[in-house]
Symmetry: C2
Subunit: 419 residues, 2 copies
Amino acid sequence: MAKKKNAFYAQSGGVTAVINASACGVIETCRKHSDVIGKVYAGKNGIIGALTEELIDTSKESDAAIAALRSTPSGAFGSCRFKLKSLDANKREYERLIEVFKAHNIGYFFYNGGGDSADTCYKVSQLSEAMGYPIQAIHVPKTVDNDLPITDCCPGFGSVAKYIAVSTLEASYDVRSMAKTSTKIFVVEVMGRHAGWIAAAGGLVAEQGIPVVILFPEIEFDQAKFIAAVDAKVKEYGYCTIVVSEGCHYPDGKFLAEQGTRDAFGHAQLGGAAPVVANMIKDALGHKFHWAVADYLQRAARHIASKTDVKQAYALGKKAVELAVKGHNSVMPTIDRVSDIPYKYKLGYAELKDVANVEKFMPRDFISKDGYGVTKKCINYLTGLVEGEDYPKYGADGLPVYVTMKNVTVAKKLPEFKL
Amino acid sequence: MAKKKNAFYAQSGGVTAVINASACGVIETCRKHSDVIGKVYAGKNGIIGALTEELIDTSKESDAAIAALRSTPSGAFGSCRFKLKSLDANKREYERLIEVFKAHNIGYFFYNGGGDSADTCYKVSQLSEAMGYPIQAIHVPKTVDNDLPITDCCPGFGSVAKYIAVSTLEASYDVRSMAKTSTKIFVVEVMGRHAGWIAAAGGLVAEQGIPVVILFPEIEFDQAKFIAAVDAKVKEYGYCTIVVSEGCHYPDGKFLAEQGTRDAFGHAQLGGAAPVVANMIKDALGHKFHWAVADYLQRAARHIASKTDVKQAYALGKKAVELAVKGHNSVMPTIDRVSDIPYKYKLGYAELKDVANVEKFMPRDFISKDGYGVTKKCINYLTGLVEGEDYPKYGADGLPVYVTMKNVTVAKKLPEFKL
């Protein structure tokens, strides 16, 4: 009994359509291992909940509510953008974490996030040695940006990719209908600060004969060359769809549309590349345009989630707990690809030291020679990830039935902590 | 046999997720009435196809291809933004229409569009008398703006409404997750030049406890009052979702974001109200924001079409042909509501003289007293329209299977016509 420890689970960074499916995998699997794992406490608003001792008691949620997480987008326990500094720079926060873990008998730390969060999870995993407190820290991968290393892909990405591919296809059919007398250019702006994975998903429509020009963050923006590429498509097809990544930038690093504000991690907050690109084409070629900025709609779009993605998100949450039960620390479960088409994969794991602070960009051979499209290799990579649908249930109001947790926190045992 | 005439069908104006379902209804029903209706010629790019004698022979399309139109968004035969002037002002175009109709033995004119198109259809319906050529002109209603009079609703609207309601719900869950340390304001811009029907659909999420502030074109924009409304929501809920109609404007009529360009009908081309509103809140209240502009994504979103909408779009296409077979001219089939919940309706029809150039705005009692929400009456109206899902099939590539017509035009019999 002395060995039975509680678990802490937190969601971090930008949420996705399937991060709750990972939460579902973690919590359901912990419930199955009640011989070694006690309660699962979820951090209210991510790691902040651990620091402020706001621990959500997930045992207050019914099995049905936890199961419903699988088809509910967003972060059911709240997420945060908050990066722990290094142990040296901010010992106070780490000491606080340990106090909270001790006070609530927490021995498992499941952190569900992207690159910055993998770094936090790695630091927590080092507490064991550095501060003499036994903790097993497992990172559960999640990021629509798909930029974590080692794993084949990241939960959240497949669903955004499907949403962008489907939406780009639909909007392209629309502009094709209108092109004779009206709109000839449709621009959709997609997420992806540094890596063009999401933008690449727009390229899937080219297989269906849609003329599409993609602007990747990996390819420095060249205005004259870009306009020529669009001009050629319009001349051949009568219209053109443009998928622009929010991270698309000039050779000097300046984003096409930088709003000038920065988020809590110090990253530039982007948005508005689509109108910039659309007006550029209008000025150069005179074509009527329409533009869309998908923003949160894309990453929250559980209604058109990829079945593969939902399955993987759940499986990685489950695997994280299994790794913990087997005694692992400082690891992240991974998707290891076995074949492209049909898409087959196994679950594995990676050491967090190899994951933290490494960003995976689109390989150059996934991008076509001219820089505006995707290669067959890229399409083979993406296809399995966007395969299948996993529809939520809908209510009599015509809306999806998504679950909202009770989010009851346990009684605090420690003095208040100022963030 | 002398009485057997061919039919002309054309798609007009902005396309929708279900205008092809109406095309499917028209063509399939014409095929069933082959005793009185010969071929169905579709105008290539709408009415322009009639003027230029580019008539698509739909008999070249298989039954399966026509059936697939039911689940394919956009205008399969091409649409256009081209408004016929009055008979007096442009007799040349009407004379040409009659020449083409005569040359191809066309006696039925099915025009699938919104308000401007209803006006064109009405003018064509008058040709019979004014120019001594027998033609039966039936308007098939279509507009995401939902602003045609008499009919309970317009095909295309229910699906946009569902898309906006679902997307607003999902994005609101997202911002709720992020609000503690990051984004507190999410703004989504929706279509609706003069009428706030689409914006109202965002209000459906309020029933699920989401704090939402809606900016309607029907309500003059008052910046101070708007900021106070958002401030109150953030103070109560910690976050706020804002749905802004592209048609939202100041008391002097100036749109929140007018790009300064105009379309072929002389309407101002809008877009970009979302960033204006988001920055307004940032300046006044300091909250971090995200914004999306749905644009074509919303009206093309066949993947999340409303089942009611698809059914009605098909039924009205079918009904249009039945009205023609019964000898009607200058009418539009309508949806006549019988009850709200459960939503029941019958099919009827209206005289085009009562439809043309009449715009139906949101009734004031559909908008809450403060002007930023919807009333129970509005929700009761909308619920039936967004009910049910009608998913397209998906291929092995993870994308919906949408059909592309062969669009083979018949041999021209007349000299060229300059538009």
